[in-house]
């Protein structure tokens, strides 16, 4: 039943868009034309042009996600376990996190050029802080009783980090996977849009320059589809990685 309503809503919205642009109530110059947009998308996939750009955008996303996550985990564990260092660095971290980091894109373009590296750098700055703060929180919220139990079982300080702090922190990282993967994607696309020579963001930038709104919308739709696929992949990974965590439906069994 819900499926019917959903389909109906989509059909109505697309129909209104189509009717609006057909009758020129909505200017096709600004709102594009649904059929033309889908024609652009069809042509992209038919000619295979889009794959090269998508591959670049996804590569940037994955690299930004991986580098941001790994550095976030390492930095979070380090600062979480040495409160002194954390106290010293705290204002700097707060400032760096408060900064609207998208604005770093031009600087990264100057430092790293218009290729993949500058996109990864921007995505990295977005992902890093999400992971970092989650790990910091995860380290702080390890239950003392679990920690003391591990110590009484003979865990060395090193083993405590690897066997207690890291898994506890990773559970927080995993639960923020959706956000951090999304941020890596945003970083890649925005950086492409602000200066690049390949990627889906670049296609949109090009089309905008020629006032080709249909292609802009086509790019947005392809990006949205891509984001949904990434999100689905994250959900799959999540159910595998967080198998030990109680879920709302499983909690009732015990």
């Amino acid at each position: 039943m819900i499926g019917v309503w959903r389909t109906g809503l989509a059909v109505v919205l697309l129909g209104l868009w189509y009717a609006g642009t057909e009758t020129a109530v909505l200017s096709p110059l600004f709102f594009g034309h649904p059929l033309k947009i889908f024609a652009v998308i069809g042509e992209w996939f038919a000619s295979g042009d889009i794959w090269r750009h998508l591959a670049i955008t996804i590569t940037e996303t994955l690299l930004a996600f991986a580098s941001g996550t790994i550095s976030g985990v390492v930095a979070g564990l380090w600062l979480g376990l040495s409160p002194r260092t954390q106290a010293v660095l705290d204002p700097f971290i707060k400032a760096a996190n408060a900064m609207p980091r998208v604005i770093l894109a031009p600087i990264f373009a100057m430092w790293f050029g218009l290729g993949i590296a500058s996109k990864v750098a921007l995505g990295f700055t977005l992902v890093f802080f999400i992971v970092f703060f989650n790990v910091l929180q995860g380290v702080r919220e390890v239950p003392p009783v679990v920690l003391n139990a591990a110590r009484m079982l003979g865990a060395s300080p090193r083993q405590l980090v690897r066997q207690v702090y890291l898994p506890a922190a990773l559970s927080w990282v995993f639960s923020s996977l959706h956000v951090s993967v999304g941020m890596a994607f945003v970083g890649a696309v925005v950086a492409e849009y602000l200066g690049s020579y390949a990627g889906v963001g670049y296609l949109i930038l090009q089309a905008e320059g020629m006032f080709d709104v249909d292609t802009v919308f086509a790019g947005i739709i392809v990006l949205t589809g891509c984001a949904l696929v990434l999100d689905g992949a994250v959900s799959l990974a999540e159910t595998r990685l967080l198998v030990w965590q109680p879920r709302a439906d499983a909690a009732r069994e015990s």
Binding site: V146, A150, R151, M152, S156, Q163, P167, W244
Partner: protein, 264 residues
């Protein structure tokens, strides 16, 4: 292995939590400590575990002064101390792994102990998939797999329902009596606020004064025959007589703690 408190005092700032506590647990002896709520029972156990150091006095383990963590003691915590990201088997295998055993050897030892606590078929379960009683059994196996000569238990069964609790108490006694480790039967220091539990499990019951500055004020040898069934032994006249004697001492302390709590 013996465990001795020699005039142990613990202060947190100006507050004296433990005030010159002296008592000892003989090798292979099962000693329970009872006392009013909030008197610092768990603190005594943390001192015995070396998780806290005394402000003055000392804890002796097998006659040697304790410095740092008590490596001869296993600790059964009151709360949920299992690592939630490990299965029951991996939780039990944690101790041997920390000690450097191979994964296979640790898993085999864990499986043996899971079977001994009645969880042979539940090794793959995560803590959240188990009942409270099963988690307590896992904690017990996790502690015992390391064969510690001293066992510290902090109200381990207080969160369980009455039936599960009596089952677990009987199983603990059976395992403790059967388990002859490298250094003979384990010495147990068992903390509880439940006098019946203390009497039915122990060789000796120590009564603590109300806080602050708690210390033992009386001790009673429990010469009830073993093996015991904790549910049945409670019905015997000898048990009742013992309970009355100890309660006569404990009641005053409970009232003191209650009045102090009500006044605060």
């Amino acid at each position: 292995m013996s465990l001795t408190f020699d005039t142990v005092t613990l202060r947190f700032g100006a507050a004296e939590v433990v005030g010159g506590a002296s008592f000892s647990v003989a090798p292979g002896e099962f000693v329970s400590i009872v006392g009013p709520t909030g008197c610092g029972k768990s603190t005594l156990l943390n001192l015995a575990a070396g998780l806290i150091a005394p402000s003055s006095g000392q804890v002796l383990v097998g006659g040697q002064p304790l410095t740092g963590l008590n490596r001869r003691a296993g600790y059964l915590f009151q709360g949920e101390s299992l690592m939630p990201w490990r299965t029951a088997r991996d939780n039990v295998a944690a101790g041997p792994e920390f000690a450097g055993a191979s994964r296979a050897a640790a898993a085999a030892a864990a499986q043996t102990w899971l079977a001994r606590v009645g969880l042979a078929g539940h090794g793959e379960k995560y803590p959240h998939q188990m009942s409270g009683g099963m988690r307590k059994r896992t904690q017990l196996a996790q502690t015992l797999v390391l064969d510690p000569p001293i066992l510290l238990m902090d109200e381990p069964f207080s969160a369980l329902d009455v039936q599960t609790r009596q089952l677990m108490e009987n199983e603990l006694l059976a395992i403790w009596q059967a388990d002859m480790g490298r250094s003979g039967r384990k010495s147990v220091l068992f903390i509880t606020h439940d006098l019946e539990e203390a009497i039915s499990l122990s060789d000796r019951v120590i009564v603590l004064s109300a806080g602050p500055a708690t210390r033992p004020i009386a001790e009673f040898a429990i010469d009830l025959p073993r093996p015991r069934d904790v549910a049945e032994i409670r019905l015997t006249p000898a048990f009742r007589a013992m309970e009355e004697r100890i309660w006569a001492v404990l009641r005053d302390e409970v009232l003191k703690a209650y009045r102090a709590g009500a006044a605060a």
